[in-house]
């Protein structure tokens, strides 16, 4: 069984510091939902508020339509997988997995049976008597998942559970997590600062910055149609060109930047005179001139060959370079360091957004 989770204008304050500012969202039952943001953005605070370790200063948390105010973490239909897993080191694998059942007064025989089922599910059959210290990182990960699933939660909360693993294992575990979620069919709420994890696993993603939810959408929309300057700069690589809107209509805007007037889509409906940032992704830029309002030129600072891609870095407006990623099939010759180079893009791939905070590099 799975339940949806609703946040209704949830604000969490620690003294004078506002960790989460009026978050409102509606996670559907059975959804794989991720919170993505840099550390300190408030995503873990949201998770702890849903699991009941924090009481919101304002607003309401509802799980399965029921208000959770005053209900402690041990009474909520949620289970949390901790960043460091928080497995009990003095218990065996089976004792860990069945701890939730033990405190619910389930008898030993039923507990053992359930443990065997779950060990099967996480592909560790017959390893129930092992101590925690005998398990590998990946195995511990799976035991933590089994322990959380054993209490049959309606919502599983995951707090960056893969961050302690090495890269290869992390990618492998992404698939496993997704597989498990499809098998058990309950709601997963996943916290991460790793956009790769969020994009590959999630049905929908909420991007957060400084306690504010910037955008809630599926991965493709987040990448292609970022709603704010923060999302555009945080998710994937992006080249920002700050300036002022000089002409705008419903679909397009012309932004006056240090590199001339540049054209881009205008989804937020900015008007003439608004401060704006025009974003063009590195892979949308190409070497060589195009139409005058989608072409700019700058000095090449360096060139980095990366196998499938070649990155060309040009002098940018501020500290940040302009990056152009050239694929192998491109026939254009790569310019030398110190040369002036013209670069251009398709007008539809430029995106003008209202000025706002960018993600820190």
């Amino acid at each position: 069984m799975s339940a949806g989770v609703e946040l209704d204008h949830v604000t969490v304050r620690f003294g004078d510091f506002t960790a989460v500012n009026s978050a409102t969202l509606d996670i559907k039952g059975g959804e794989f939902f991720s919170f993505l943001g840099p550390s300190g953005c408030g995503k873990t605070t949201i998770l702890r508020t849903v699991s009941g370790f924090l009481e919101p200063s304002e607003g309401k948390v509802r799980i399965g339509g029921q208000d959770m105010a005053g209900i402690g973490p041990n009474k909520r239909p949620t289970a949390l997988i901790f960043q460091n897993l928080a497995l009990f080191p003095l218990m065996t694998v089976t004792e860990n997995i069945t701890y939730g059942l033990r405190v619910r007064g389930v008898d030993k025989a039923a507990r053992t049976k359930k443990a065997e089922e779950l060990l099967e599910l996480i592909a560790l059959p017959g390893q129930g008597n092992k101590q925690m210290s005998e398990l590998s990182g990946g195995q511990k990960q799976r035991v933590a998942i089994a322990r959380a699933l054993a209490v049959q939660p309606q919502v599983l909360l995951l707090d960056e559970p893969l961050s302690a693993l090495d890269l290869k294992l992390r990618q492998h575990m992404r698939n496993e997590l997704r597989t498990i979620q499809r098998m058990v069919g309950i709601t997963f709420i996943y916290i991460t600062h790793d956009q790769g994890e969020a994009l590959t696993m999630s049905d929908r993603i909420a991007v957060m910055s400084d306690g504010v939810i910037q955008q809630i959408a599926d991965g493709k929309t987040i990448y292609d149609e970022p709603a704010t300057a923060f999302v555009a700069s945080f998710v994937g690589e992006n080249n920002p060109f700050a300036g002022t809107v000089v002409r705008a209509d419903k679909s397009f805007a012309l932004v006056e930047t240090r590199f001339g007037r540049l054209h881009g889509r205008n989804p937020r409906g900015m008007k003439e005179g608004d401060k704006a940032i025009l974003f063009v992704r590195p892979e949308s830029l190409r070497l060589g001139a195009g139409a005058s309002d989608t072409t700019l030129s700058s000095t090449v600072k360096s060139v980095a060959f990366e196998g499938n891609m070649t990155h060309v870095y040009l002098e940018g407006a501020g500290k940040k370079d302009i990056t152009v990623s050239v694929g192998r099939q491109s026939t254009t010759s790569i310019p030398e360091r110190g040369q002036m180079a013209a670069i251009s893009y398709d007008a539809a791939l430029g995106l003008a957004l209202p000025e706002g905070q960018l993600a820190r590099e």
Binding site: S51, G52, F53, G72, P73, N74, K75, T78, A79, L80, F82, Q83, N84, A86, L87, F88, L90, Y99, G100, R102, V103, R104, I122, A123, L124, K130, Q131, S133, E134, L135, S136, G137, G138, Q139, R147, A148, V151, K168, L169, H172, M173, E176, T179, I180, R182, M183
Partner: protein
Amino acid sequence: MKSAWVMKGMLGFYILLFFLYLFGPLIVMGITAFNTPSYPQAYPFEAFTLDWFVKLWNDRNMMQGLQNSFIIGLGVVALSVPAGLAASIIMSQIYHRARGLFYLVTISPLLTPGVIIGISTVIFWKDVLGVTEVTKAIFYKGVVLTILGQSSFISAYCLLIFMARLTRFDRAQEEAALDLGASYPQVFWHILLPYMKPAIVSAVVIAFLSSFENYNTTTFAILADKTLVTVLAGQVRQGTTPALSALAVIIIGISLFGAITYEILKRREKKRAEQAQKRALVAERGDGQGDALPAPSSA
């Protein structure tokens, strides 16, 4: 190079001297326990005897004192270990502005001369227990007062032992148990207490030993009763007999036995942990291969 050798030699000589200082008096005393003269004498060694041990066994005062020492030791353990544990938990939860004062109060008995602890215990409890004749008759006794007096500083030892272990406790485990549905008392019994077990064992041992060998506080609080140490003190004050050396030999023997057992147990545990680590390393190599999950059938 030459100076390094000199340094090394000097260091070795110094360590030798240090341990000679530490053990020498005890060894000399040990020898006197087996020598026949009635004045404890190590040299000349006249003849081997075990008489002094027999004499010790027949000393009723000492046996009475030993019995009281045991009772007091057990009482102190029963009082200070729970008190130290409770204080270590309250220390982590107490209102932050009161923490410093609370720490100072609970740790102050360690810096207070034992004599003063003994005196204040007697003066205070004499009047408190003296409020009614019944309490006075039942509780105003040397053994009770000694347990109270010793507990005041032995609880502080326990507190320090527990605090040291608590700082390394991963609070996420507490939260994990709660999240799985445990109540707060269940978290205490299932998670915190097992975690604290090694510290509790140490605290029990240290509390008992400190109680057993205490003199300064006990000599005031014991009133008309006696413990092994106060009997000893009385005998040492009166004169010297090899029976005291015999007692020391027994005590040293027991502590050596305890220390060696402890060392063996520790080594065995270390070996076990190393083996577990090895198995984990083997498992690590298999990570992400072979035992992967089956693909979802419906998708």
